[in-house]
């Protein structure tokens, strides 16, 4: 086919009212309850009512047998635009892009993007065994290690190919724990030292305990609306200056060493009219540290294979020179199912609108958020990224 057209900008579209519910390791509550709670908090932050929501975008693994459709009746919403996004850790970015276009085109004025999941005892095992057809047929039967084992293989390959050491991944985990200690809602409340990281028990070599997220129940939400409406209501907002997504990128790679970001990152910076050095903070999808390193590389902060050196040269904490996953991310905050892919977006909106409170990065005006989801078999298939700007703290 002739040259592909470039993505058009998101002029006039903003993100606002970041909100969530404090996570719980195990909860008797359902996904419906968690989603309702986050939506309620988001609307409260914006000073809006459920009747003001005319677009609704939902992400959840544990909503079955319901989908977004059932939720409209359950929650008493009457939207004129509805979406359900089964893309795990990339669903936040994908949902954001679709919602922005709907608002831009006038299909909806206020889209509520909400993600939430329940976590009951034994939910995790059940969700692993039936995650996808390829996982059921070709990865789960090999030790049933779940994503720990899939990412162990990617990590082992990355270490061999690029000379990374376990300490390099440890820097990500240790600095995120440091950030999480400022976040009152993070599940992890005690400091983590490099020594503790290195001495942790192996889960699936070379993945050890602190490389893994803790599954929990929780929810996150934000609103997508017109800039003029946000201004009229006096709601603090972040502008969306660029966004990309890609699925099943580089299928010929024998094993995942890069994600779809690498295909689209140049256009992302062009859309936003910015460069990596001008990004004030980065929120990557952090189900395992190796995938954070791939995002740092594929999003242009350093070259392929230079991740370990980059980590050694930078301070990833809130007060550091490369603030990363400032709320503690999933590694220290907890992984609330599909809402894990919303954490970075919600935190980035807070940061560039100066509402991050204890985790606020001084002078943060431009943030990058990245999503990654769905280990269908041996690699994550969905990737997305966005750049948000705001007035800052």
């Amino acid at each position: 086919m002739a040259g592909r057209r470039k993505r058009q900008g998101y002029d006039g579209v903003v993100l606002a009212a970041p909100a969530g519910m404090a996570y719980e390791r195990f909860s008797t509550k359902t996904a419906h309850w968690w989603i309702a709670g986050a939506l309620r908090n988001s609307l409260k932050a914006a000073g809006l009512t459920p009747g003001d929501v005319d677009g609704f975008s939902v992400t959840s693994f544990s909503l079955g047998p319901d989908s977004a459709v059932g939720l409209t009746q359950h929650l008493g919403l009457t939207p004129r635009w509805l979406d359900h996004i089964p893309m795990g850790g990339a669903a936040g970015l994908v949902g954001l892009r679709r919602a922005a276009r709907a608002v831009q085109a006038g299909d909806a004025d206020v889209v509520a993007c909400v993600a939430g999941d329940a976590n009951h005892v034994d939910s995790f095992r059940r969700s692993l065994s039936g995650f996808s057809r390829f996982a059921q047929d070709a990865s789960y039967p090999y030790g049933a290690g779940g994503p720990n084992s899939c990412f162990a293989l990617l990590t082992d390959h990355y270490m061999t190919a690029h000379g990374a050491q376990r300490e390099d991944f440890g820097r990500i985990c240790v600095s995120q724990r440091d950030n999480a200690l400022r976040n009152p809602n993070a599940l992890m409340k005690t400091p983590l030292t490099m020594e503790q990281y290195m001495n942790a028990r192996m889960i699936s070599d070379p993945i050890a305990l602190f490389d893994c997220v803790m599954p929990c129940a929780g929810s996150e939400a934000f609103l997508v609306m017109r800039e003029e409406d946000a201004q009229a209501q006096g709601i603090p907002f972040a502008r969306l200056t660029g966004a990309i997504e890609r699925h099943n990128a580089f299928p010929e790679d024998p094993i995942q060493d890069r994600g779809g970001w690498a295909m689209d990152v140049d256009e992302l910076y062009q859309m936003a009219g910015t460069r990596p050095e001008q990004i004030d903070l980065l929120q990557t999808y952090d189900d395992y540290p190796v995938i954070c390193v791939m995002q740092i590389e594929d999003l242009g902060f350093c070259g392929k294979g230079e991740g370990p050196e980059f980590l050694r040269a930078h301070d990833l904490t809130i007060k550091g020179d490369f603030p990363h996953n400032t709320s503690g991310g999933q590694l220290s905050g907890g992984q609330p199912g599909a809402a894990g892919g919303f954490i970075g977006i919600v935190e980035a909106i807070r940061q560039v609108t100066g509402q991050a409170g204890p985790t606020q990065v001084a002078g943060a005006k431009q943030a990058m958020v990245s999503g990654f989801g769905m280990i269908n078999y041996d690699r994550g298939l969905c990737t997305g990224a966005a750049i948000l700007t705001g007035e800052g703290a």
Binding site: Y142, L153, H157, P254, I255, Y377
Partner: protein, 419 residues
């Protein structure tokens, strides 16, 4: 090299026998193609009938050209490990109970990457030969083997789980009078079986191999008449809890077609031994063995049926006998389903004419007792479900796979009319 498994000591009867658990069972219909390949010990993957692209994981449409014409074909098993891990924490009880599992990503020479178990002797980032095997749930899984044999490689933990190696196990052979009995007993003892029980009917009646059998260390001859329910129950009461592999070689055969016989007398005897005999054994030994599927190093692992390849397609010269074999084959499928929960493998060994008095006038090739015994042992070591022994059976099985209806015509019409 692998660490040799030590011979287990006596079982402590006060301890609870572990309840068998299984690795994950669910598979898509496409993925069962790998199970079918593993049942015969073949490494097969789907190849696109249009563009030739090799596919993995199994699917319903070609990942290159979208064609729906995907065919399971024998595939070059060579590959190289490009990543590995040891799974130490698992959500499934089966894996948890058995400790650590070595897995890896293997890039095959045919250009696809697969997740597989790694044999302990596979070198880090080393070359491998891929095999498809049945796991304890009887489902096909990929196991990467070292390219060349290594010392004690069969004692590797993963391989021991996937196979039914007779080493350190106790075997019941149901008919000491059968022409293949002595060869089978010797083969099992040579393969490291700790005990070979031999069932013998009508013990007052002598037979040619009795002295030779009695002289073998490790052989114990016990009364068993598969046509007598009480006899089967009595033997099971005695050794049902220590039978790890059961080989049903009891067989009644008389030559003669449907019209030549004139009545159902012989046919009834054939059904009594070949079909009801299997049923009697299955009803008593089946549950006992399935309950011991996780009973340590010498757990119950396999049930072997020796069948005529004419169980698949009738040969009119022995038509009524072939019908009894077809009945036994069908019952073996029911048995396989019933013992599945115990992780027990049901292996059917199909042979053509065997070298014995009842096949005396037939031309060669005929299956020698030693060849039959070798096929049984190697089938168990490979963890197979389906084995064809001898050229006749292999040829017949190949024809049956190609087109069962055409094979029926070949067997039932080619001999008649104007030859």
């Amino acid at each position: 090299m692998s660490v040799p498994i030590e011979r287990p000591g006596k079982k402590n009867p006060q301890l609870r026998t572990p309840v068998p658990t299984l690795p994950p069972v669910p598979r898509s219909r496409a993925a069962l193609g790998l199970t079918a390949a593993a049942a015969e010990g073949r490494f097969m993957l789907q190849h696109c009938g249009e563009c030739g692209a090799v596919q993995y994981p199994p699917r319903d449409a070609c990942g290159k050209c979208l064609s729906g014409d995907l065919r399971w074909q024998d595939t070059d098993p060579n590959g190289q490990v490009i990543a590995e891990s040891t799974v130490r924490v698992s959500t499934a009880p089966y894996f948890r109970e058995r400790g650590d599992w070595r897995i890896g990503t293997v890039r095959l020479a045919v250009g696809v990457s697969v997740m597989a178990y790694l044999h302990g002797d596979v070198e880090q980032a080393g070359p491998v030969r891929m095999t498809a095997r049945l796991d304890r749930a009887g489902q096909g899984v990929l196991v990467a083997m070292p390219p060349r044999a290594t010392p004690n490689m069969e004692d590797d933990k993963i391989l021991r789980e996937m196979t039914c190696d007779p080493r350190h196990r106790r075997v019941l052979i149901t008919d000491a009078r059968a022409p293949d009995a002595l060869a089978l007993a010797k083969a099992f003892l040579d393969a490291g079986a700790t005990k070979v029980f031999m069932g013998e009917s009508e013990q007052w009646r002598g037979h040619a191999e009795r002295a030779a059998l009695s002289a073998l260390e490790g052989v114990e001859i016990l009364p068993l008449d598969v046509t007598d329910t009480r006899s089967v129950q009595e033997l099971a009461g005695q050794i049902g809890g220590k039978t790890d592999i059961l080989v049903n070689n009891a067989r009644f055969i008389r030559p003669g077609g449907l019209f030549a016989r004139g009545d159902v007398t012989f046919a009834r005897d054939e059904m009594e031994v070949n079909y009801f005999g299997l049923m009697r054994l299955a009803q008593v030994f089946g549950p006992a063995m399935a309950g011991r599927g996780a009973d340590g190093v010498n757990n119950a692992v396999a049930w072997v049926n020796l069948l005529s390849v004419h169980a698949l397609s009738n040969l009119p010269q022995i038509g009524p006998f072939a019908a009894s074999q077809a009945a036994a084959l069908s019952l073996s499928q029911a048995l396989r389903a019933e013992v599945h929960g115990g992780g027990l493998r049901v292996m059917n060994v199909f042979s053509g004419p065997t070298e014995d008095a009842w096949h005396q006038p037939l031309p060669p090739p005929k299956v020698q007792p030693k060849a039959l015994a070798r096929a049984v042992i190697s089938g168990l070591r490979g963890g197979l479900e389906e084995v064809a022994v001898g050229d006749v059976a292999k040829d017949m099985l190949a024809r049956w796979r190609e087109d069962p209806k055409v094979l029926e015509y070949e067997l039932t019409r080619m001999g008649g009319g104007d030859a």
